[in-house]
């Protein structure tokens, strides 16, 4: 699925503008102080370099992330990794974000409207949106992103302009700087890479860096770093301090539109990733892209609805599962970058040094995130069980395909890359 320049940015920016990203940014600013800004720059650069590397390796029109990954891992592991990197991510992220939006709507806008009711209403509306023509979905996505980014920009400008001693907090000695705090910033960029040209690979991380670094600066100018670092809703605390009640309302709008942007963007990303499997010469014909267009969003919505109705939002398990799902996406992205390094080396005879180095750092960062997870055992158990289930599903998918179509055409696969 190829999109225009601005549209690719709107899709990639979805997760970046979600309440989850705002929590990561706020906590990082609180824990690391001014050091959060260079750390954010380093992580943005890492994603820009690896994203660009993957784009460079996809030389032909028919090439895709899936084919690139298949060249490193083989078809079944590539199907498995593609499935487990997007389906748990979109389902669990939707569950978590909708709950946050429900509370925001209830506490900021309509006290009498049940928070859970709003979560379901928004889920229903976003599911219905997916039934509309592609053009309308993409236009809606641009509106969601513009509302969220515009709101954050407004609060940042008002915050910096109105601060009595802007940046005073930046001069304080950061107390909780650790590699683990920096590694958490990796989660900010999860799901931000989508189809598009090489320019987008740099532009999304660059825009994210500018927007978040100024937001961190504004937040630190108003909120005590300790409070910012430990708050579960640092975005709302900062918004209230900056503009009072209107600030809360603007932040409420950012949260709801950011949630809508993240869910819509992730659903499109998921369709695009699974669509690449069906378009591959080795695996096509089982689920057409058209079928996925109508099947995937309602199934994800149903799974999300069931998880919410069963009370996962009130269970700490949700945080562990979401953390694991984000890591699974990062594993997929890291392996894609590794495949790209190997492919470019094969094609040109030269190792892409910057790309290889950023890939190595990214892989190290992902391993570090896994080992330093607060609930390491549960996170590893979730990741391995997802990989196991995904592997089984991939094997069934592949075997069914083999029954339905002639022998795999490996030459076609190589040609596509």
């Amino acid at each position: 699925m190829k999109h225009s320049f601005w549209l690719s940015i709107a899709l990639g920016a979805g997760w970046l503008l979600s309440p989850e990203s705002l929590v990561i940014a706020g906590n990082s600013a609180g824990n690391m102080g001014w050091l959060a800004i260079p750390a954010l720059a380093a992580v943005a650069l890492l994603f820009a370099l690896t994203g660009n590397l993957i784009k460079q390796s996809l030389a032909t029109e028919n090439s895709s992330d899936f084919l690139l990954l298949s060249s490193l891992t083989g078809t079944i592991p590539a199907i498995c990794l593609t499935i487990v990197s997007c389906l748990p991510f979109v389902t669990l992220a939707a569950t978590a974000l909708l709950v946050s939006s429900g509370y925001t709507f209830n506490e900021v806008f309509l006290y009498w409207f049940p928070n859970f009711g709003f979560s379901f209403l928004l889920l229903g509306l976003l599911s219905i949106l997916q039934a509309f023509p592609e053009k309308i979905i993409l236009r809606a996505q641009i509106i969601f992103v513009l509302l969220a980014a515009g709101g954050l920009f407004l609060l940042t400008v008002v915050g910096i302009a109105g601060a009595e001693q802007p940046g005073n907090a930046l001069l304080q000695k950061p107390e909780k700087v650790s590699a683990a705090s920096s590694a958490l910033l990796l989660l900010l960029f999860t799901g931000s890479r989508l189809s598009g040209g090489s320019k987008q690979s740099f532009l999304i991380p660059a825009i994210a860096f500018v927007l978040f670094s100024f937001w961190m600066f504004a937040s630190l100018s108003y909120v005590n770093p300790e409070r910012l670092g430990s708050s579960t809703i640092p975005y709302m605390t900062a918004a209230r301090k900056i503009m009072g009640d209107p600030g809360r309302q603007i932040m409420g709008l950012i949260i709801i539109s950011g949630t809508s942007a993240a869910i819509t963007g992730l659903l499109i990303m998921c369709r695009s990733m699974l669509g690449a499997i069906t378009l591959s010469p080795n695996t096509k014909s089982l689920f057409s892209v058209k079928k996925q267009r109508y099947l995937l969003p309602p199934l994800v919505a149903l799974a999300t609805g069931i998880l919410m109705a069963r009370g996962l939002a009130g269970d700490d398990l949700l945080e562990i599962l979401l953390h694991g799902a984000l890591i699974l996406w990062l594993i997929h992205h890291s392996l894609l970058a590794l495949s790209a390094v190997i492919l470019i080396q094969k094609r040109t005879g030269h190792m892409p040094i910057a790309g290889a180095l950023s890939t190595a750092i990214l892989i190290g960062g992902v391993l570090f995130l896994i080992t330093t997870s607060p609930q390491r055992t549960e996170t590893i158990r979730f990741i391995t069980s997802m990989l196991g289930a995904g592997g089984l599903l991939a094997a069934i998918w592949y075997l069914l395909h083999k029954k339905l179509t002639p022998e795999p055409t490996t030459q076609q696969t190589e040609k596509s890359l």
Partner: protein, 88 residues
């Protein structure tokens, strides 16, 4: 296919309704405010996970307990006390 999507959307919205409806006696914020200084009042914040972490509001003086550990903390309160459970 569009009918299927609409049906699923309806099911989703219906699934959320039981969460909204409730038979448990409730108390308005005005009623609670009027009793805040009462020595027999105990406010227990039983929200957990994201239900707690996503909320901006925490009631002053509320004690945070886990709903699943009711057998453990229920012994700390007398039967004649007004116990307010804050769950969402």
């Amino acid at each position: 296919m569009k009918k299927l999507i609409l049906l699923l959307s309806f099911l989703l919205l219906s699934a959320g309704l039981p969460a909204i409806a409730s038979d448990v006696p409730t108390m308005s914020k005005e009623e609670l405010k009027a009793q805040l200084n009462s020595s027999t009042l105990a406010i227990l914040d039983v929200r957990s996970g994201r239900d707690w972490s996503s909320s901006e509001f925490k009631i002053t003086g509320a004690v945070r307990v886990l709903g699943s550990e009711i057998a453990k903390w229920s012994k700390d309160y007398k039967k004649d006390q007004t116990i307010v459970l804050y769950c969402a």
